[in-house]
Homo-oligomer: 370 residues x 2
């Protein structure tokens, strides 16, 4: 059996599919691409059993066959070839790649059960502009629980659909972000939890083109121009996050985002090299003093920033990295910290109202060392 | 005691000095910068006891002092500050850095004996254009012995000065490179072995400006625009490398460098994933066939290239990575492999004669598996 392919075309597809191939797996056959050759097309798939990636290329073949070909090895060969025509000749488990100057012989394996795409009923779908969906993920992925502790649900992003808009929510228990995409129309009224690894891979595959997202009860399907991704959903209930968001944080601190972020990055140098990892906000009417220390090194830092604050003077501590994360995701010149007391969650919001998005972030305080 | 510095100016100097600071050292004080403040200048130094870096900045101070300041910590702080004026206030072991908005307190240590620059008599010096010296190192550093075995001398680059030019030689016993810089004038007639780590750091510090290189019996001093580097030399005798270079390799193979390099990179994919790491050259009058295999994967590759060859057909094996290294350092469209037999060293030379440089490389063959 034989068929022809252009190396660049194949390289482009493999460069995406390889994202699903695990580097080392207890199931070694997962380190392969599945090639399904029919007379009219070649379908290539890769999976780690949680995420399934698949793409098809039109070919003209004189037979059909399924086989597994070593993933990284094939990808390395194909991308080393430059722009050339490749003749694939398959005989039993031998795969011969022929170009004008070279012959490359590989061994293939028989197909296994693992590469089988989960069955998927296209029940409900929503179409996004690629850049819009990418932003939804970029704004939330940072706050997903890294999974050391806490519930499995929190290791994913909650996609919550209702008439008011689409909410993307992530939390690790210490901070929470709720990003709402307002201009997206859907009649879906449901919620799904997508694993963080799936989001990471989807973010790499997204271009500015449209992406259609399909949901079943247990799986999610992303349809890009040239490639499909199916991922398992996390089948748990997401924490009732709305009940954590304080509605009556009456003390409002308004700050310049760039200035505060720059100062926090310096505090990070002091706090992260010690064990405390905390930054102190001492807030007065028009002056915010932030400070941090590294006790081991006998070092500390204090900076003063202008602010607008309408409450009683307050001293509150935060995890420096988390403040850094939150401020890095504000898309506005200024933001508001809504505070109640040094032991209650702070709510961070942008000032400018936007037509297409809403952003709310929440930061738990930490108990100060002194 | 106090003095002022611009953050950008200090950052520029520290970014270079930090190259000498070891990440972890059995002598923890080496992880510090030495600050020597006088009334007119600040001299900062860093060392790993093999390489000493030092730079001076004019300052106006009301006192003088020597102290050690944590290296990476200070550098991180300074480069986080943006462009600003810093007031250094020193009191006992406390160092206070003041900017418009912030105060940063550090602890310093007393100076130790380790940061002392080795004494250096400027006996002999030679001045290079930065780009010329950089090229001498770039052409040779790859072949230096990584030091797993073999002599200490081979872990450095030999700088050999005589009337005919300056030779830069490196070898690890499997390959050798001799790069000659022809247009450099010197009356030095001697040879020195510079450690590979020193060369790596010097390569990072070189700009297009002039560099003056001074030699003593035991040390080498590089003087850049704004910084000085002193390194110990390797006090061993370099192997008599000239006796290894075969003079009568009568069989000449002429190949296109880019084509062969491209093919060798593909062979690397096959050979380096197995244990063999070898590539076979089967050489005929006008056809070079190179091949490689990965026995574990049941995979192999063969490519054919046009060539010009004036000897009897020969099959010779090389380490694929070493062929890759050698071809990557040829600065010509075509090169010549001068061969004698499958068990004797191959000599690789450029075809075009250049006025300012000469390049000779040598590659030991390997015994083929089959």
């Amino acid at each position: 059996m034989e068929f022809k392919l252009n190396s660049r075309e194949l390289e482009k597809v493999l460069s995406k599919l390889i994202l699903a191939i695990p580097q080392r797996s207890p199931i070694p056959t997962l380190e392969n691409f599945l090639f399904e050759v029919s007379e009219e097309q070649l379908t290539i798939s890769a999976t780690d059993m949680q995420i399934y990636l698949t793409a098809s290329i039109p070919v003209s073949s004189d037979g059909s066959k399924e086989m597994l070909i070593p993933g990284k090895f094939l990808y390395d060969i194909i991308r080393s070839l430059g722009d050339t025509q490749i003749l694939f000749k398959v005989e039993n488990d031998k795969v011969k790649l022929k170009t004008d100057n070279g012959v490359y012989n590989l061994s293939s394996l028989e197909n296994d059960d693992y590469h089988k795409l989960p069955s998927f009923d296209k029940e409900r779908a929503i179409t996004f502009q690629g850049n819009v969906l990418k932003k939804c993920f970029d704004q939330t992925l940072f706050a997903v629980s890294k999974g050391e502790m806490g519930r499995a649900a929190m290791t994913g992003i909650l996609m919550e659909f209702n008439k008011d808009g689409l909410n993307f929510v992530a939390t690790d228990g210490h901070r929470l972000v709720k990003y709402t995409s307002l201009n997206q129309v859907t009649d879906i009224n449901d919620q799904f939890i997508v694993p963080d690894k799936t989001i990471s891979i989807v973010s790499k595959l997204i271009t500015d083109s449209q992406v259609t997202v399909n949901f079943s009860k247990t799986n999610i399907l992303f349809e890009f121009n040239d490639i499909k991704l199916v991922s398992r959903l996390i089948g748990e209930k997401y924490p009732a996050y709305n009940s954590v968001i304080p509605l009556e944080n009456e003390n409002k601190l308004k700050v310049n985002v760039k200035e505060l972020l720059s100062a926090v990055k310096r505090m990070l140098i002091f706090s992260s090299s010690s064990t405390s990892n905390q930054v102190k906000f001492a807030i007065q009417k028009d002056l915010l003093e932030i400070s941090s220390e590294d006790i081991d090194k006998g070092a500390n830092a204090v900076e003063s920033l202008q602010c607008e604050y309408d409450g009683d003077p307050m001293v509150i501590g935060f995890n420096t990295s988390y403040v850094n994360d939150v401020l890095s995701h504000v898309n506005d010149k200024e933001c508001i910290f809504k505070l109640h007391s040094p032991t209650k969650a702070a709510v961070i919001e942008q000032i400018e109202k936007k037509e297409d998005e809403k952003l709310l972030m929440l930061l738990m305080p930490v108990r100060l060392n002194n």
